[in-house]
């Protein structure tokens, strides 16, 4: 087993990858909020 310090693909830093996940969650919540109001 390697215990490397390899970086993630494309984004190049782990911090950016974590922010990407958080921003994606916020975008989803906003989309679902629109969905709730638009169709409800």
């Amino acid at each position: 087993m390697k215990t490397d310090k390899g970086l993630p693909p494309f984004i190049r830093t782990w911090k950016r990858f974590y922010w990407l996940v958080i921003i994606w969650l916020v975008v989803l919540i906003l989309l679902f909020y629109w969905f709730t109001n638009h169709f409800g």
Binding site: M1, K2, T3, D4, K5, G6, L7, P8, P9, W14, F17, Y18, L20, V21, I22, W24, L25, L28, I29, F32, Y33, F35, T36, H38, F39, G40
Partner: protein, 566 residues
């Protein structure tokens, strides 16, 4: 089911099992058997983690939940992406660097053997019972389709999973899960397309969502601050975060998945992939549920979706009463259908006044339908006090078998089977890992040979498989299975997570303090649940915070010296 469906079902299941067995051949020690020689890539880990969590219950209960209560359940998963980040930063590097087989092994390095065994014991109880439920869920499908006793279908499914898991261990589990998830995604897309395709002419995806929305089913987001509301944004983000962190960080069925990664990088990417995909996937499954709801606004739904129970009451002395209720049910639907047609026209014309008026009429019709259903359920209870009166888990299946074309029915049923097999295989594998590493190799066979350890692990896999099947035979009294699993998890996960949080972040706490803190907290959590003081998701937060608080308190009292991790 037609011959074509049986062929599709048989080929799919056979292919999956054969592939798993083929890819896992040549295992010679428990490192290979329990951790796949720590050699897997991020996409293996990502799909394996998703397949482990997405049991058959996800595909049976979630659409049923959306059909009856709407989309609010999606909020339950909002804490998951955040939990994946914390895991990637904290848990993954520590577990990898310490080269542990199980999460509980780490607790002995940090605290003492009693804390390790206590936590492993909580896990074994919780996971053993939950796995029984995940076996039972698809067993009701076969039971319903073949009209045979659920006992036989439970034993059949359980045995199938136990055989390939006992043979191939973790590698068989991970390789089959990769294939399973690919087929599951394809099948879900096909199911979504078919539901829309089956709607009446002139009613498309958008119109179907509007119809469901006017009946309160598109309630995906709720920002209200209500401790007793099970699904809000806050319970999802806060309570869900603790539940998911505990599940992925301390439940061996998940820890065992990402410990198979060839490096920290591979394990991290696999977990973050889950963080990106899980919420949209769950939303899509719930969306199918509300589309099925819209379908049944234009087509008469069965008065009760569980055919076995319906047949039972129809063949009893209550048959005349059931017939009266059925006529009322059809009459309510016919009136409602006229209103739905008017609503469709009002939506097209954007006539707000008419839409509001019809919304009230539809709510009234729903209320009448619920009263008829309640009367039927009362009759079922009178006829048989042990009758299964919750048909949520049958809604999607009933729709699929009655409306989908030949071949696709077989594929959809295969998906439910595969989901169950994936989750069950991971769970049985993790139960065997914990028993082998935290009990057998720790206390009984400290210096056993590779061959004898491997044989013992296989025997533990078989024993846990049998235990889970026994639990499955009693799972039919638990109502909505998805909620039952999550409630059970919430009773234990908070405490387990609290122990790990103290291990990672409260450096001055020692083994004696954390053990007593965990015991006191677990008793508190079970008492709160018994007294129904709050929604179950909050129990995760209470459990975690309780262990941290009591650990600090007891540490002051005991004053033991903590053991640092090197």
């Amino acid at each position: 089911m037609s011959i074509v469906d049986w062929v599709v079902l048989a080929i799919t299941l056979l292919a999956i099992v054969s592939y798993g067995v083929y890819r896992s051949r040549g295992i010679r020690n428990i490192d290979g058997y329990l951790l796949g020689n720590r050699s897997l890539s991020w996409y293996h880990i990502g799909f394996s983690v998703m397949a482990t969590q997405a049991s058959a219950i996800t595909f049976l209960s979630a659409p049923g939940l959306a059909y009856s209560s709407g989309m609010s359940f999606v909020q339950f998963y909002f804490g998951l992406p955040l939990a994946m980040i914390v895991l990637s930063i904290t848990f993954v590097p520590i577990f990898h660097r310490l080269k542990v087989f199980t999460a509980y092994e780490f607790l002995e390095k940090r605290f003492d053997v009693r804390t390790r065994v206590f936590t492993a014991f909580l896990f074994l109880i919780q996971r053993g019972v939950s796995t029984g439920i995940t076996i039972y869920a698809p067993a009701i499908i076969l039971s319903s389709i073949l009209q045979i006793n659920v006992t036989y279908t439970t034993l059949f499914i359980g045995s199938l999973v136990v055989i390939y898991t006992a043979y191939g261990g973790t590698k068989a589990v991970s390789y089959t899960q990769l294939l399973q998830m690919s087929i599951i995604f394809g099948g879900l897309l096909a199911a979504g397309y078919m539901v829309v395709h089956l709607l009446p002419q002139g009613i498309g995806f958008k119109e179907a969502l509007h119809i469901a929305g006017k009946s309160g089913k598109t309630n995906a987001i709720d920002f209200t601050l209500d401790l007793n509301n099970q699904y809000t944004v806050w319970t999802g983000i806060i309570g869900g975060f603790f539940l998911q962190l505990s599940y992925f960080g301390t439940d061996q069925s998940q820890v065992g998945r990402y410990l198979t990664g060839s490096s920290i990088r591979e394990s991290r990417i696999g977990l973050l992939m889950n963080g990106l995909l899980k919420v949209p996937m769950q939303f899509s499954i719930l969306l199918i549920g509300i589309l099925v709801f819209s379908f049944y606004q234009y087509n008469t739904p069965p008065i009760f979706f569980n055919k076995l129970e319906l047949n039972k009451i129809e063949n009893s002395s209550y048959q005349p009463e059931v017939e009266v209720l059925r006529e009322k049910h059809i009459a309510v639907f016919e009136n409602k259908k006229a209103d739905i047609d008017r609503l469709t026209e009002a939506l097209a014309a954007d006539d707000e006044q008419q839409i509001d008026e019809l919304r009230l009429r539809l709510q009234d019709a729903d209320h009448q339908a619920k009263e008829i259903r309640a009367d039927l359920v009362s009759l079922m209870k009178e006829n048989d006090s042990k009758a299964d009166t919750n048909d949520n888990n049958y809604i999607f299946l009933s729709f699929v078998t009655e409306s989908f074309p030949k071949g696709l029915i077989g594929l959809l049923i295969a998906i439910v089977f595969m989901a169950s097999m994936g989750a069950t295989a991971s769970a049985i594998n993790s139960l065997a890992s914990t028993t082998s590493i935290d009990i057998y190799k720790r206390f009984i066979s400290k210096k056993g040979s590779e061959k004898s350890d491997l044989s013992a692990s296989r025997i533990f896999t078989l024993v846990w498989g049998v235990f889970c099947m026994i639990i499955a035979l009693y799972a039919n009294r638990l109502g909505n299975l998805l909620e039952a699993v999550n409630i059970l998890g919430s009773l234990f996960y908070g405490t387990i997570l609290g122990i790990f949080v103290v291990a990672f972040y409260v450096r001055r706490a020692g083994g004696r303090a954390v053990l007593w803190a965990a015991i006191v907290t677990e008793i508190t959590v079970v008492t709160i649940w018994q007294l129904d003081l709050m929604a179950f998701l909050w129990l995760n937060l209470v459990g975690c915070a309780g262990v941290v608080f009591f650990s600090l308190l007891f540490q002051q009292l005991f004053g033991d010296k903590a053991k640092p991790i090197k």
